[in-house]
Amino acid sequence: MILSTTVMRYILLPILLCMSWVIPARAQQHCSLNINILVVETHNAQPLYPVVVHVDELKATYETNEKGRVSIDSLCPGKYTFHFHAAGYEHYAEQVTISGSTELKFKLSHIEGHLDEVTIADEREQTLLQAKDKMDRQQITANSGKTLGDMLQAVNGVSVIANGATIAKPVIHGMHSNRIVMLNNGVRQEDQQWGGEHAPNIDPFLANNLEVIKGAASVKYGTDAIGGVVLVEPAPLRARPGTDAELNLAGLSNNRMGVASGVVNHNFKAIPALSFRVQGTYKKGGNYRIPGYWAANTGVEENNYSAAAAWRKQHFGTEIFYSRFNTDLGVYRGAHTGNEADKLAAVNSDTPLVPADFTYELKRPRQHVEHDLAKAKMYFDSKLGVWHATYAYQHNFRQEYDVQRVETDDAQLNLTLNTQTVNLNLEHRAFGELKGEVGVDGIFQENFIQPGDRVFLPNYRSKGAAAYLIERYKISNWTIEGGLRYDYRWYEAFNPEGSNQQVVRYEYSFKNLSGTLGATKRVSNNWQLSTILSNAWRAPQANELFSAGLHHGAARIELGNKNLEPERSYNLNIESKNQFGSKLSTELSLYTQYIQNYIYLEPGADVLTIRGYFKTFNYRQTDAHLTGADVSAMYRWNDQLKTNFKGSVLFARNTTAKDWLILMPADRLSLNTTYTKDISRKLQECYLGLDTRYVFNQWRIPSNFDVIDYPRPPAGYFLADVAVGTKLLAGSQPLYISLTVMNIFNQKYRDYLDAFRYFIDQPGTNVVLRLRVPITFNNSKNHNNEDIRIINSDHIH
């Protein structure tokens, strides 16, 4: 078809003219790239401030803020040369090709030999190439007042298993309790975590970062790391001379709770190698409010404190740390039912069976838990690399005060768990692009009750040793990781058996080989793809082997199985992180996990005791297969407005029974939008946020569900939170204030993984007022003139 001049003149030409108007506009859009720069210290990843950043091609100079960050907007794609100047640090320059909006990290090294220079050796945990997510200090303090388990729900793929609002544990990809490992300041937390009603004894205010590794990670973390690992990482101790402090306050309306936490950091000007930190938190709340009622006896009181000191030189350093966690938790009075019929009566009641008013008083049933952690760590450089040696001692004391007929002051359970761990590891020097670590772990543990305690677990003693090797190799835009670990665990248990409670001694041991193989490819500046294949294992716990009686307060009898074998899991994770243009970034994580010898409770016959009928459950093993996906997307409408979407699904199967697995978290979606703006010189970083989420009804339940449990999993529910906050400058002192309203519609709902779903609803509306005051004392700044030196770096996310 030949185009006539008429068509040309009146149709094509206008179109071409329009296009010529459109095309330059799009080219303009190309120069709207945004880069976020983070400048940190080479060894300890501490953000550096103030750092002067000069970009040759832009003929512009910027300065990093207190977080070590600076943003540059409206960039066109191309090559840029960045120069970094900071007092006490080597000059650094690097040329970077920018093709899309991205985040860049640059590392500066301390200059040796200067008075106020202290080169801090590597304190960062070198985490595995497994799928992971992080919550930074800002997110942690923005959620202050929440339990650690509840806070971690912000991470995609993590949900919560609870006994009411005050006792909550994280669930990673369907796994919880002793199928996940919690690392408290680098130490494997041992606090009776196998119990569903045993919340983690860790103060979230200790953390500068909460990192969640989602997937099998035994190769580095040993037994139990089947579902994943939660790393509670404090900030490195202060390196520059001077003092800084932070105060966090929160008031929560729902249970009239007050939270106060403070931390002080100091580094001595006269002894630059010496630094210390002291920190403390106090929390007190009363009964929490569900729509229409108060939940009887659900108050909480917590007081925690910690202290750390370090003496660090360039090639050698040592650190000691001590923390104490203390909590008293009320358990809803109506949750400790008698027999099966009593439980059904509670379930069938629309309203809470136990009436209550508001009070801070804690009555029975309640828990009292103390956790002490003492850690000593040393590092030193050698020709082979950096050596780390760590020793930690933990003392966990858990008391349960049951409802008694006759008033007494005693606790009916006084359970002690003392654990000592030793770790020696070498991060060997790089052999070309090959980096890695090799290490040995040792553990010694004792668990015992007091005479006169109720029948619970056998006393036991356990020893373990492990050796591991993890290597990482970088070639062009690939990173490949492989690891191997050998674990040995030995137990001796003393179990009172029979009507005369004769003590029988059992001895057993387990050996296991774990491994990991993964690869990450930086396909382009906008796309990172990872594949990880790893395996993990878990030794059966004492309760799974030896239980023989009424699970206190759960209205059921649990019978252990002495023939249980360790669980072994094989996990494949595929993760894709993408950046589309300058506005949209997405993360997709697919996982599938096959667990051999998965231990679970299978219903048996009903048993008639003098207290009436109880269901019995026997510990059995089966093969399980868990498959799921976590997807998240962030869209930046403009500099002020951004929206976050998250979704996660999980399909958990009992492959031997060809049926669904019981008690697995339902699918969920969340959508969050935040608008940020600086209003005036005094009111900065003001934000307004709306957070919504929907949790589906869990319909993936086994066909014999009605035999095991009643009622069916609750309906799906929708929740909305609104938050508003700002940074207020009182003179030169910044104050971060925020007001959050959680569950603004006072939605009445129950969650399948909350054991209180039988008895009461989840909490209603909660209005939270938070204040964060970072205090920097007038610390001196040194300015020196340095030579320019260009050094290689790697900028990884």
Binding site: F316, G338, V403, F448, G452, R454, I610, R611
Partner: protein, 183 residues
């Protein structure tokens, strides 16, 4: 500062040795089953000289239940006792129940409620606040026949005036089911 390998070994070993020094009573756990009830005993008397006890006992996984045999259309005085017969001497828990009477309730149910084999309940004793406790009460038997008598001890019931264990709420401390023969 040079760190020698032997220093490392010493620190490591002493840490491990330190772990071996423990003096804890791990080998001898002494748990005690708390608040054990083994027996619900009905002590039945009347003005005509009738005096019998009927036990519902669960001990060492064995059930011992006495059949309640009474005359029809007769009035009896009944006292309910709660015992722990796993100890020697037998522990009488009834005293504890009476001491905390406000927190306890005996719920008695007869099946059938009226007619042949039925028992009706009156004049139940009260707790310290004047609310029902029913530790002592009167049985009035119906016509000759068979029935079932259930005696439930409730702790912290939510409704002291309830006629059934379910409606009473609270926790069941003991549930005794007797077969009844009125002849």
């Amino acid at each position: 500062m040079k760190i020698s390998g032997s220093l490392i070994a010493t620190i490591f070993t002493s840490a491990v040795l330190f772990t071996a020094c423990t003096k804890t009573p791990i080998e001898n756990p002494e748990p005690v089953e708390q608040e054990v009830i083994t027996t619900i005993r009905l002590v039945v008397t009347n003005s005509s000289g009738f005096n019998k006890t009927f036990n519902y006992k669960v001990l060492n996984d064995l059930n011992f239940v006495d059949e309640v045999v009474l005359a029809p259309s007769t009035e009896y005085d009944v006292e309910i006792k709660v015992l722990n017969e796993s100890l020697t001497p037998t522990e009488d828990i009834t005293e504890e129940v009476l001491a905390e009477s406000n927190d306890h309730l005996f719920v008695l149910e007869s099946n059938p409620a009226t007619g042949a084999g039925a028992i009706s309940f009156t004049d139940g004793s009260k707790d310290a606040d004047g609310n029902p406790l029913n530790q002592k009460l009167k049985f009035t038997t119906g016509e000759a026949g068979n029935g079932v008598l259930t005696v439930t001890l409730k702790h912290e019931p939510t409704n002291k005036n309830a006629g059934t264990a379910g409606a009473a709420g609270g926790e069941t401390d003991a549930e005794a089911s007797f077969t009844v023969k009125l002849q």
